[in-house]
Point group: C2
Chain length 226, copies 2
């Protein structure tokens, strides 16, 4: 049953990975009527997209797909010619992994805010977390804190109805805590997809596979994809 109360409508950014699946479950648990937003941005791991759709459907939620063709590259996730580096090595050298997509979360959040305005939602949920592997500047809490005044100053909603909340329920959680939380909330991890490679089964080698495996191990659970 749809909730027309603005206070209880939320946009949830859904990548198809387990973090965003858990985030959707958290938003639902908090009583939000969730509208999922999925991006097809030319990522190598297209499988993510079908996973995201399945996760939305399993949760009984509407979803919208935004297609973006980046007319520039600058990331190994968009460009076959750039090698997918291991973030562990990148972090040791103080660098940011090659999988960083220029300004990706700024763009994704912007679309989420637009969608929130269009359907009169009061919150946007995003499953970013600053621990673990990413080393991405746009997954840190200081980035999300900085984004809030933009919405307050730069949107009709912010000016007329009060701000749209940007909610990051996983921001300080590690992978194993996220997995345990998801299990408690009944997330079907079989529907999620994490691998950066484009294969039919997880490659087991990329950062995303590595941290997923580590997370399940530390949580004392078995990954249903393996």
């Amino acid at each position: 049953m749809r909730n027309n109360n603005r206070a209880k409508r939320a946009i949830v950014l859904l990548s198809g990975g387990l973090d965003s699946a858990v985030t959707l479950a958290v938003a639902g648990k908090q009583g939000y009527d969730c509208y999922c937003l999925i991006f097809d941005y030319g990522q190598r791991h297209k499988r993510e997209i079908s996973s995201a759709k399945k996760i939305a459907v399993a949760a009984g939620c509407d979803y919208r797909l935004v297609k973006i063709q980046f007319p520039w590259k600058g990331s190994s996730l968009l460009d076959d010619r750039i090698k997918i580096t291991q973030s562990v090595a990148a972090r040791r050298s103080g660098d940011i992994p090659s999988t960083y997509v220029p300004a990706r979360n700024i763009i994704f959040l912007s679309f989420a805010i637009s969608y929130a305005e269009a359907i009169n939602a009061s919150a946007v949920f995003i499953g970013a977390h600053q621990e673990d592997y990413s080393g991405y500047p746009d997954c840190r809490s200081e980035f999300f804190r900085a984004f809030r005044p933009v919405v307050a100053a730069g949107t009709r909603t912010g000016v007329q109805k009060g701000n749209i909340r940007i909610v990051t329920p996983l921001i300080d959680k590690g992978k194993s805590r996220i997995i345990k939380l998801g299990q408690r909330l009944g997330v079907d991890f079989k529907l999620t997809w994490s691998c950066y490679g484009g294969g039919k089964r997880p490659c087991g080698k990329c950062d995303s596979c590595y941290y997923r495996a580590k997370g399940f191990k530390e949580a004392g659970l078995k990954d249903p994809l393996l």
Copy 2:
């Protein structure tokens, strides 16, 4: 001749209207090697897009076109069923015009920042101005001021190389001053397109036509499109 110096590369958001054409001329005058960014976002006034391309080519600049399909509406510029209201009336009633597109400039700036990161540019120019007709929250200087910390915290460039400047050279100028400035800089206004309608000639009735005509009149110049 291409300038490889980061400090002198800029992204210029180009709509095809006269404000962004003047902004491109300003950036060029300041010595920037300009890379234009044009959006096809389902706007009624498609003619804008071909105008933008012509303006970029006339200035000898590269351009990139980003296609966005908004899977939601919420604006008369995207939805034929919503009447294009006159902003003068809207402003009198304290409202925001129906032509407001949810979070449009947040989205456009986000792509510009991504492009800047991908080609290692140090500045983004946008021709927004808060005077005159718009009444759009995302054309105000407080919005642009709020955006800067997002870039500083949320991008690889911001973290590693110093911020990407967001430059709004027209922010406090009225239409007639913008037109006079463009004339001094040699902008060919015949290439620009302002009308919100989708016709072959300016409708003469929409806000954009109204303020353009007023601007030319106050500048003591003739609009070459009429």
